[in-house]
Amino acid sequence: MRNRRSPLFMEFFDCNASYGALEVPPPSFAENPHKLLEEMDFCGVQEALVHHAAQRDDSPLVGNSLLSEEIQGLDRLHGTWAILPPRTGEQGGVGAFLEGMKQNRVQALWAYPAEHRFLMTRTALGPLYDVMVEKRIPLFFSVTESCGGVSGWLLVEQVLAATPELTLVVTDHGSWGDDRFFRPLLEAYGNLHIDTSRYELDGGLAALCHKYGPERLLFGTGYPQMNMGGPVLTLTSADISDRDRGAIAGGNLRRMLGSVRL
């Protein structure tokens, strides 16, 4: 029987939160990082790995800088940057990009290949992938992404088949319950992780934990598109051990970010 009080003291570390004005905003969103922190406080979320809406909707060239400037000094928010293919040189060379990440304490990257119109193949991103593998930098992208006619879990499989050592976190898998898609991938690729922001499936977290352990799951909220409270209460109440709950809530993400060597 689980400790009935323990969820209240669980350290939630959200791997998938965002702020900033969007092209098409949801009915409610955080315009700035202080508003995001208010929402996190309201829901009992201690820390978040954050991205800025401008990184996708405007440009990585604008959004990466905005994010790093705006979260400076806000220790509970951990910045991520968006990538572009190195060949165009828009973000400098891979070395300069990494140096910028180091200076701005950025430990994770996001890809938006549909919006930013690039391929996620090794031909396009190989040099960056190789450095990410070497430095253990995780890459996040939404399963709703597509590029070059490839989308969803097939895109995930293509990326991992080409670079299986890459630490990949796939977000936003949908309400139709994607287990038939992602379970084979979890078994085939040890570096695949999924966030829990849209894992609404009744009994899904428990079933996955019992079969695969908690290590591949990261607590995420998908805020501001998604209401933070759903993922919070789902994980708090899941029929899993407190040890597994703590790992998903933040332990796995802390370990992942702790292994990054910039």
Binding site: P7, P27, L201, D202, G203, P224, G229, T236
Partner: protein, 265 residues
């Protein structure tokens, strides 16, 4: 956690709140085509309901969406076995107009059903089409509930189409399944303008800020809770309600009071 809600604190501590017996107005039963369910049986669903403090679930079996004769019978069996935990919706499939009179007779003989379930997107037939009329006239005469799937910009079940039916059949209580997901503005307007039309929250709860919008513009008395169980963990939807910026009284309206009124519990 700075959320001052006492209900939120109770659910966070225990996974349920004994002072807030939830009623789920939108459920199903059994396996279905495009999704893996860990908990599809009625026994599984009861365990989930107990863990989340769900007192009642009103549901239609997945089988009934495909074959009403087999599927409504399955719903009836489960309702009969657990009359204190399940109520049923009798699914109407407009693609079998020849069966409609027989279906309505079977409904009339059944116990534990509160009304009809329409799923126009699945059946590829418009909500306002003539093949639904017999069932709607019956529902009007007997003042039944009708839960219809709705989705934004669908040519089969957009929210405006349910508003048309609410106007046409004033003694039917319509539940707008998923609150016209994607066209929330039209769904909320329809609920505000029609006393017999309610917003049903399955899946819609997840969209950040939408619960506050519904409560502000349609009122908490016009919103009911649903999960599509065995699809969605009730904790996900309940969590969205608990952490929406509304009062505990409004949360109670959504989680059980409105349903109690509609079901005459």
């Amino acid at each position: 956690m700075k959320n001052p809600s006492r209900l939120a604190a109770e659910f966070m501590a225990n996974g349920r709140a004994d002072s807030c017996p939830v009623i789920d107005m939108h459920g199903h039963l059994g396996p279905f085509q495009g999704i893996y369910f860990p908990n599809p049986s009625p026994e599984d669903m009861l365990r989930t309901m107990d863990r989340a403090g769900v007192r009642f679930l009103v549901m239609s079996s997945h089988a009934s969406l495909v074959d009403t004769q087999r599927g409504n019978r399955l719903t009836a069996e489960v309702v009969a076995q657990w009359p204190n935990r399940f109520r049923g919706y009798w699914t109407i499939n407009p693609n079998y107009p020849g069966r409609m009179a027989e279906e309505l007779e079977a409904f009339a003989r059944s116990q534990g059903f509160v009304g009809f379930k329409f799923h126009p997107d699945h059946h590829r037939y418009p909500l306002t089409g003539p093949r639904y009329e017999l069932a709607l006239r019956y529902a009007e005469e007997h003042e039944l509930l009708v839960l219809s799937h709705t989705w934004g910009e669908s040519r089969f079940n957009a929210p405006g189409m349910l508003a048309t039916l609410a106007e046409r059949y004033p003694h039917v209580t319509f539940l707008m399944g998923h609150s016209g997901y994607g066209e929330f503005d039209k769904a909320i307007q329809a609920a505000r303008e029609h006393a017999n039309l309610y917003l049903e929250l399955t899946a819609a709860y997840r969209v950040n800020g939408v619960i506050e919008w519904m409560v502000r513009e349609a009122g908490s008395s016009k919103v009911v809770f649903g999960t599509d169980l065995p699809w969605f963990d009730p904790h996900y939807g309940i969590g969205c309600i608990l952490f929406a910026k509304i009062t505990d009284e409004e949360r109670r309206d959504i989680l059980h009071r409105n349903a109690e009124r509609l079901l005459k519990l």
